[in-house]
């Protein structure tokens, strides 16, 4: 089966973010989106530890321990960027000022419920960080994840079985098989990977899906 590579998914998300957008890219896979933003398109990256106008990683040897992203990796500041404290930073998110958050996930439900912070394992030590703030922290919350678990179960589900991060907060899901919009009419498939019939995608997903690919070019 054909799959979108992680780079392809990141590129597809990047393509969907317009110039002038204020964007928070979550830890892990979403960070890759930054590498695919077209150089000419001004997009403002927010890092919840207190940066707006975050730039790429610095050249080796020029890392600054005081200039890191939410994943605690060294970054830079673009010309025009600004620093602020944690309460102001999360106020930006909670107050709905970000246009996009891009997050990883364990599961997304048909209503847009998000589970991405905790496997629920009895032994697992919980850690939430900014996950729940990010889940409600933008006008558009996009998820990037594999469509299926390693054992082949769909991560798009009727009801999340993992502990929730946020309710009805996800607007769109980008997977290695498809791009799916969470709408008031349920899940609408915007794109499918080349060669995967819609019926097969629906079978693998196991939730009701509407085919919204008509007239659209695959990504």
């Amino acid at each position: 089966m054909h799959r979108f590579s992680r780079e392809q998914i990141a590129a597809r998300v990047a393509r969907d973010i317009p110039a002038g957008a204020y964007v928070n890219l979550g830890i892990g896979q979403p960070t890759m989106v930054a590498n695919h933003l077209p150089p000419g398109r001004e997009i403002f990256l927010h890092s919840e530890n207190g940066i707006l106008g975050m730039g790429p990683a610095p050249p080796k040897g020029q890392e600054d321990p005081d200039l890191i992203n939410a994943g605690k990796q060294p970054v830079t500041l673009l010309t025009g960027g600004a620093y602020f404290h944690h309460a102001d930073s999360f106020a930006m998110m909670r107050g709905g000022h970000l246009d996009y958050c891009v997050l990883g996930a364990f599961q997304v439900s048909v209503r847009g419920d998000l589970a991405n912070w905790h496997t629920g394992g009895k032994d697992a030590i919980p850690a939430v960080g900014g996950a729940m703030d990010l889940a409600i922290g933008a006008k558009n919350v996009y998820v990037m994840m594999d469509h299926l678990t390693k054992s082949g179960e769909s991560k798009i589900v009727l009801n999340c079985t993992y502990p929730l991060t946020g309710l009805a907060c996800v607007n769109r899901v980008y997977t290695d098989l498809a791009v799916i919009e969470v709408s008031t009419q349920g899940l609408v498939v915007l794109d499918v990977v080349d060669g995967l019939p819609f019926a097969e995608l629906a079978r693998l997903t196991g939730t009701p899906l509407t085919d919204g690919t008509a007239g659209r070019a695959a990504g």
Binding site: S47, E48, N49, G50, I51, E63, D64, P65, D66, L67, I68, K72, Q73, P74, L77, Y83, F84, H85, H86, A87, S89, F90, A91, M93, R94, H118, D123, A124, I125, P126, A127, V128, G129, G130, A131, M132, D133, I136, G137, P163, L164, T165, G166, L167
Partner: protein
């Protein structure tokens, strides 16, 4: 003449008592008041409640404070990390209490304490495990959870420069929790890279006015922290 400079970290933390609630600034490699934490370990206060974004990394700083079994309870957002083995072991053994708070609610609860807000409704964490048992309310079509302020007896934070009135500026993302923790503690103790004369800080650019600061310790001759290798 008001002079908030204190000559040593030991003197600065001398009166932190057993059972105190202590906020500790910092996020990742940025803004950790390492010398103040070391002084607190040396000083010996125990049964502490610590408020920090994390629960210690490796075996130094906050992790060393935990390892010395001085911390009864930790209030944080992200305890589990690749190198949080000290916390992990204490937690698994039931030797430390954890209050897990979403990072933005943590920041806002600290800010609320400093701002004299009695409680606030926040949409973050509604419908999740971390809101269980908490009061909720539907406001303007959105579900909210009621959260209360986190006050502290002491805050230990790191800033870049300070004057004798305790005015502070920070450096880049090291600002993180500093300004809000300074406002939420009865006694805020700051380590700074540089002490500057009164008037050296631009009044338009002072981030933490001295009203929120009780003691400042310049840490002389400390080279910038080496950047640790990024971990996956």
């Amino acid at each position: 003449m008001i002079d908030k400079f204190v000559s040593s970290v030991a003197a600065a933390v001398a009166d932190i008592g057993d059972g105190a609630t202590v906020m500790i600034g910092g996020f990742g490699t940025s803004g950790i008041p390492s010398e103040l934490i070391d002084a607190l370990i040396e000083q010996g206060a125990k049964e502490l409640t610590v408020v920090n974004n994390n629960a210690g990394n490796g075996d130094v700083g906050l992790a060393a404070l935990l390892k010395a079994r001085r911390v009864r309870k930790i209030i944080c957002s992200f305890p589990r990390q690749i190198d949080s083995h000290v916390f992990d072991a204490l937690f698994r053994a039931g030797d430390i209490e954890l209050e897990l708070v979403p990072q933005g609610n943590l920041a806002e609860r600290i800010r609320a304490a400093g701002a004299g807000i009695g409680a606030f409704f926040t949409p973050t964490a509604y419908g999740t495990l971390l809101a269980e048992g908490k009061e909720t309310r539907l406001i303007d079509g959105r579900h909210h959870v009621l959260e209360y302020p986190i006050h502290a007896d002491f805050a230990l934070i790191k800033a870049d420069r300070a004057d004798r009135w305790g005015n502070l500026v920070y450096r880049k993302a090291a600002r993180n929790f500093g300004p809000i923790m300074a406002s939420a503690a009865r006694c805020t103790i700051v380590q700074v890279r540089e002490a500057v004369p009164l008037g050296a800080l631009d009044p338009e650019a002072i981030v933490t006015p001295g009203i929120f600061v009780q003691r400042v310790v310049p840490i002389v001759g400390v080279a910038a922290l080496a950047m640790p290798q990024a971990v996956a």
